[in-house]
Amino acid sequence: MTTQRDTLCVTLLVVTFAACTAPAAAYPPDNAAVLYYRAFMLYEPDQSTNSMRDDYWHGQIELNETLEAYLTKNQRVIDMVLDATRIDRCDWGLDYSQGTEVVLPPHHKARDIFFLVAAEATMQANKGHHKKALQRCVAMYRMARHLNERPIICYLVGTAVTAATHKCATRFLSEMPLETETLTWLQAELNEFDKRPFSIEPALAWKREAAIISMSPERIDNAVETGLDDGDAKTLIRKRIRGADPQFYTANVTYWNNFMDRIEAAFDLPYARAYAELGKLDKRPWEEFEMNPEATLTVCFAPPLQRIYSLSVRLKAQSNALRAAVAVYLSRARTGGLPEALPAHVPTDPFSGRPFEYTRTEDGFVLQCRGRELSKDEVYTFEFKVK
């Protein structure tokens, strides 16, 4: 009898232990994309509150009952997204074997989700929960990294989310009482991102591979139809494809590889030289392809390089300015006054490669780039206030 009872107890223990450790019941999942997809489906942007929501997270209006109800209604979605951002792995499940014809996930929904989280973060800041508000910002930086799958479009959506998050973080820092503990935490979080920097490089590497997959007799028709506007160039390219032999494809792949080598090299140059070189490279296949059939397919796949590069450097300038600002805020929190000069080892202005010009103002400080942004012919200034 005793033996039977012992056996039963052991069996129950084993079953209980197995149930507790069973991976099937695990939440959150080990792939952040599962939660993002779910959040994208569940979130219902409310057209009537959209402009109010945007005014709110831009700090232009106060919290009201409508906004509070909207945030309460979507709390589950916010929590789901915040859970997703804590997961390292994010696989959107894209079929890369399709080359440039890969169907992308609904990343545009990520911007709606960002607006929702930004509004919730603003509410946290207004209630005095400054660290929570900044935690939302860090979460959005993580989401932007998750969005940055290999296609260039994914990089661009991630760029938009990161840039908007910078705006949020700048405002929160400007309005919060400076606490050493919170700022040290924020600095550590931002430094952590250096281990997995938000970069264009994976997108460029994938672009090279994807175009090569699409440069095949089976796929090229679709690519031409999708990638080019109707016109003389498209007509000529179609004609060449109709008469193409295997050598045509081999020669075009070689041209494309050389082209991408030059692009990747240009992205590593100092800003002004890179900008000029990418401008030339943007035009080159179009100038050459009429006389040189080897440039034909590169015309279909070449991305708008100079524009993408400008966006990436502008984002880098914002990111670096924010990190430099956090160092200044931290100095202020520790010493009680703004430093005379920028702290050592803070990130630099990517347009000039030199430190930002630091100026103290009546209500805070300003970080100004020393180099000019060439596409807009503008010198960027980042303003930070101190409460």
């Binding site: 014809e101 609904p106 296609p151 260039i152 699409s214 690519a223 279909c300 991305p303």
Partner: protein, 155 residues
């Protein structure tokens, strides 16, 4: 007349399908194919057993009618359905077209021509609104409609 031979009549009389001639013929063709396949795969002795036994005869007739109803429902869902009331119809891109709008190369083209805004607009065209499919009836709604029409005509 056996039930399977009355399918055309059932479609016309019992179901308020309002299908055009092409859709009607397509459905009928599917049912005939199903019938032919059924007869091919059914062994003669088994067929004899079914036709002799009243309960199995009723069950097989019911199964065939169910197949016909499902075929009509599927055809309506996949093949299009007339609007219940006249009015402006929304042009919707076919699925293949929408998928093409969501490819990496296509979205890149949109970005090249109109920047982030054009890219986002194309994304929205490709994926539509979150409740974009509510204009199509669900299978439950469709079946309820069919049942109502069947009751009205005394079926």
């Amino acid at each position: 007349m056996k039930p399977v031979d009355r399918i055309e009549e059932i479609i016309k009389k019992k179901l308020n399908a309002r299908a055009d001639a092409a859709l009607h013929n397509r459905v009928l063709e599917r049912v005939r194919e199903a019938k032919a396949q059924y007869e091919e795969t059914m062994s003669p002795c088994r067929r004899k057993w079914i036709t002799k036994n009243p309960s199995t005869r009723l069950a097989s007739a019911a199964a065939i009618v169910a197949i016909a109803v499902l075929a009509v429902a599927a055809a309506l869902l996949l093949g299009g359905r007339e609007a219940p009331e006249p009015g402006p119809t929304k042009a919707r891109p076919p699925v293949a077209c929408a998928l093409r709008l969501a490819t990496a190369l296509s979205l890149e083209k949109a970005f090249r021509s109109g920047g982030m805004q054009a890219m986002e607009e194309q994304y929205r065209r490709a994926y539509g609104s979150p409740r974009g499919d509510t204009e199509n009836p669900s299978v439950e709604e469709l079946m309820a409609e069919l049942e109502t029409e069947t009751r009205k005509s005394g079926g």
